[in-house]
Amino acid sequence: MPTLHPARPAGLLLPVLLAACADPLDDNSALITEERLLAVVARPAEVAPGATQTLTGLWAGPEGLIGEAALGWGVCRRPKPLAELGPAAPDCLEAENSALESLPAGPTASLTVPEDACSLFGPNPPPPVEGEEAGRPADPDVTGGFYQPVAVFAPEAAEGEIAAGIASLRLRCDLANVSQETYIAWNAGYHDNLAPEIESLELEVDGAPIEVARDGGEATAPVPAGAAVGLRLAWPECPLEAACGDGVCSGGETGEACAEDCGAGGLGCAGAETYVVQVPGTDTLELARESVSVAWFTTAGAFDAPRGGRAADDAARMVDAEWSAPTTPGEVLVVAVLRDSRGGASALSLTLTVE
């Protein structure tokens, strides 16, 4: 069992160093050593109950992406207990459990969000249970979001097998427990999340850029064996302040005030968007901005940091990482998953030929 000893001189000065270490063991989660789920991409990224979403599971193994994996999909129909720290009720983690409504197996799934999703997982009162007091609605996340859990199972998962992952699909629910005035302002100024998109992925070795060849959906590039490869992933710029006519329906901007940007569903931005959110426990709204994070995955080699990102108050729109290529020639898969804090995601894969 690996042991973390207090580093000297800290060990000499600080006997009180418990509860202190963040990820002190090596984080090898970027390395794909077995078949696993890397991401679930939902389009649209945020929908109201009754609407339909397309879900795509990014399933990969040591040999690369498995595009035609017959993933199992189960729509969770049970709220999670308050004491549960995970994303869903324990029953919703098991294959074939009655708490799940199955969708056809495949790499993608088409989901019509249940009409009662905002009651089970959102701010609306839960369905009444005879003989019991009114139930407690779910709490929102820090972005004001509520999520429909969907279990994703490995291909041919047996009954009772634990899900490979729980996708949480952002629901467009009404704002509850606020005055009418606040509700109206929120309803006009809040716009559904547009998933972030990867604008570019640049590679360089020793300061020299490496050209990425693109052939349809395939992206490939050669890299020297054992090289330290710099990667820079960027996403589109979104306006920090609303301005009518800038082509983006920013948070707080309304169709009434700016039909050009916000008419007919509004024009989103595939970067760090702004949005309006209720200040918890109050009747007021505030303008917030998404944070963005990037997760890297690879079938060989190693990243210096498997994750990076930008906080909401950081205007930069790119993340750098360093990938150490393996010393043996061969093809290596690198995957970047871009996420925003409102639950949107997109992914990009790249095949690197180590020479």
Partner: protein, 669 residues
């Protein structure tokens, strides 16, 4: 339970006593002896961790777990005034300068009617009055962690004064020389201050006023390239107490005591994981009084009657994730990301405890058999400003609850021979819910007072003169403890439910060797089970279930002002819940652990040997003591916590302190 009135020994360890003020089972030690116990770095009150019935807390937690009760269930009283903690953050130091301590007593359970408002044990600290000082005295101390001092003495015939305090310098030193360390490790910053003025009104009649203050501020940040994974935590706690104490001892069996106090606590725990900030802040003002009068009625009977009251007004602000901070019964892994669903609540709580009590001590069979019967009545009243979660601009409604409790206590003590004694005690106890748990959004405003029953039996033996052996068996049962609702759709304002039950049972042994020829020592051992369950469910090990704790310590006064002490401690590990797998959460790019049976895994057994060596140099009008304390002599790697890789595929450990020499200096005059 033998010869508790014996006085004059250098080492005073009283394991219960037949007088009315003593408890059925307790260990009391005076300050001078406590100060030289190895492993405590000269801190008088840290001797408590060596006493039987006390679990070894994880390094850095400073939590006081007595007979398996949660730390918040054990009350800490300084001169009868409740204070929120015994130790500063990290458990390195107590909140009271050693020069202000006269004795410290641990009562793990089964105590009499004079105390209440807690379902666990008691730590009773009795302070110095300085009325017997000759002139002006003082001390100055310094070691690796902090520096402090005190000045005290008598002014004229009737007035006595004292002031003391200490301040940590670990944090400031690191800030200056290695600021990045504090980004990773929770370095405690603490201070405490004491001041007292006393006047002897008449012979055996004293009045004094005392101020106690303490502050802690501990913070850490765990940076991460991904801001959504950066975590930080800051906890602060300050408290202040001002009390006026009156004592009159007529010498004819009548003792009258009066105490009034005011105080305030300010505490905050703010954690952040990514953008999710969770905060629990409370601001408490309190006022209280304690009066008692003891009378002897004839030769065989003495009676004490009293009134013990405390009113707390608490403003609470809670925000963030519901499941933070963790509470007993939560299943989680160290470092696990908290949920990101948030809420907020601000509310006020007023708790009223006003308990009259009476206790009678009847001595029979030529004073060899004592029956001590007591009754305490406490309303456990409380008002909460918000009975339901806030909805828009709707006006809020409060509520008032009370649980009038009659708490009988009974102790029987039999001393068949001068060298042996037998004892049994039984009592009913209660405790107000924690103010933060009364939130309509995070807890339940209607939580009742928890109740407990303690049962104690014991025997004492003094086979040869310097050796005392005391064996105590105990069992406690508590119910009405708040725990998280496991319902899929809990009712509004019922995030917590008073449906948890607790029980603990076991035995403790204390064998002590009175100072003889400059030698002293003791062996304390506890074997205990602490379990919890939700009403009607299966019992499971409590988070505080430490089955065996064994402490052996001894010392010798050597020629030339030398003093040598050695302590060895063995403690079986606290329970943890095994991680049996993990589940990927693609939205947050996190793995969530999957757990096995609750608390079925154990941290490895802890062992540590500590050495204290001191040399006292006598100067013309003062004395200088230079001490070297070597902790963890064997440099054993003790596991303090289990930690996991981010995907929970590999388990590691956080090990405790390596061999650590601590130099200390104490100048007294």
């Amino acid at each position: 339970m033998i010869d508790p009135e014996e006085e004059g020994d250098d080492l005073e360890i009283l394991v219960s006593a037949p007088t009315l003020k003593k408890q059925a089972v307790s260990v009391e030690i005076d300050a001078e002896q406590a100060r030289i116990v190895p492993g405590t770095q000269g801190d008088v009150l840290r001797v408590v961790e060596n006493m039987p019935g006390v679990a070894r807390s994880s390094l850095g937690s400073g939590a006081l777990v007595v007979w398996g009760a949660a730390p918040e269930d054990t009350g800490v009283y300084i001169d009868g005034v409740r204070v929120p903690r015994l130790y500063h953050d990290g458990g390195l130091r107590s909140v009271l300068s050693g020069d202000f301590v006269r004795t410290v007593e641990l009562v793990p359970g089964g105590y009499g009617a004079a105390h209440g408002r807690g379902i666990g044990g008691l730590v009773i600290v009795d302070t110095q009055t300085f009325s017997e000082d000759e002139g002006l005295n003082g001390t100055a101390t310094a070691d690796l962690y902090d520096a402090g001092g005190s000045l005290h003495g008598r002014v004229g015939e009737r007035l006595s004064l004292g002031v003391g305090g200490r301040r940590s310098h670990v944090g400031p030193l690191l800030e200056r020389f290695s600021p990045e360390v504090e980004d990773l490790f929770p370095v405690p910053h603490y201070w405490d201050l004491q001041a007292r003025a006393g006047v002897r009104l008449r012979a055996n009649e004293d009045l004094d006023i005392t101020f106690l203050g303490s502050g802690d501020d501990t913070a850490r940040t765990a940076p991460n390239p991904d801001p959504s994974r950066e975590s930080a935590e800051r906890r602060t706690l300050q408290f202040q107490r001002l009390y006026l104490r009156y004592t009159r001892d007529t010498g004819a069996g009548q003792v009258i005591r009066g105490l009034v106090f005011v105080g305030a606590d300010q505490s905050a725990l703010v954690t952040r994981y990514g953008a999710v900030e969770t905060a629990l802040r409370s601001d408490t003002r309190l006022i209280g009084a304690r009066v008692s009068s003891r009378h002897r009625v004839g030769d065989a009977l003495s009676v004490e009657a009293g009134f013990d009251a405390e009113i707390d007004a608490v403003d609470v602000d809670r925000a963030g994730a519901l499941a933070v901070p963790a509470r007993e019964g939560d299943i989680r892994a160290f470092g696990q990301a908290p949920p990101d669903q948030i809420n907020a609540d601000s509310f006020a709580v007023v708790t009223v405890n006003a308990a009259p009590y009476a206790e009678a001590d009847l001595g029979l069979a030529e004073d060899r058999l004592h029956l001590i019967a007591g009754l305490r009545v406490d309303p456990y009243a409380r008002a909460v400003s918000r009975s339901a979660p806030q909805e828009g601009l709707s006006p809020t409604h409060g509520l008032y609850e009370q649980d009038l409790r009659r708490e009988p206590r009974l102790t029987v003590r039999w001393t068949p021979t001068p060298r042996s004694s037998l004892m049994a005690a039984w009592g009913r106890y209660g405790q107000q819910p924690q103010p933060g748990d009364l939130s309509a959004s995070f807890g339940n405003p209607t939580l009742p007072a928890a109740t407990a029953v303690h049962r104690v039996v014991g025997a004492g033996l003094r086979p040869i003169d310097p050796l005392h052996i005391d064996l105590v068996g105990f069992s406690t049962e508590a119910e009405g403890i708040a725990t998280r609702s496991t319902a899929e759709q809990p009712a509004r304002a019922e995030a917590l439910l008073p449906i948890q039950e607790a029980r603990s049972y076991g035995a403790q042994l204390m064998a002590r060797l009175d100072p003889t020829g400059g030698l002293y020592g003791w062996l304390s051992s506890t074997v205990a089970w602490a379990e919890r369950r939700v009403e009607g469910g299966e019992w499971r090990p409590s988070d505080y279930d430490q089955r065996v704790v064994l402490t052996a310590l001894g010392g010798a006064e050597l020629p030339w002002g030398l003093n040598l002490g050695l302590r060895a401690r063995v403690a079986t590990g606290l329970p943890r819940t095994e991680v049996v797998g993990a589940l990927y959460d693609p939205r947050r790019d996190l793995y969530q652990p999957l757990f096995g049976a609750q608390n079925e895994l154990r941290l490895p057994t802890f062992f540590s040997a500590d050495l204290r060596f001191a040399k006292t140099v006598t100067l013309p009008t003062s004395a200088l003591e230079l001490s070297l304390e070597v902790q963890n002599l064997t440099n054993r790697s003790n596991t303090e916590e289990l930690l996991y890789t981010v995907d929970y595929t590999e388990r590691g450990q956080i090990s405790g302190m390596p061999l650590l020499p601590v130099l200390g200096l104490r100048w007294s005059f």
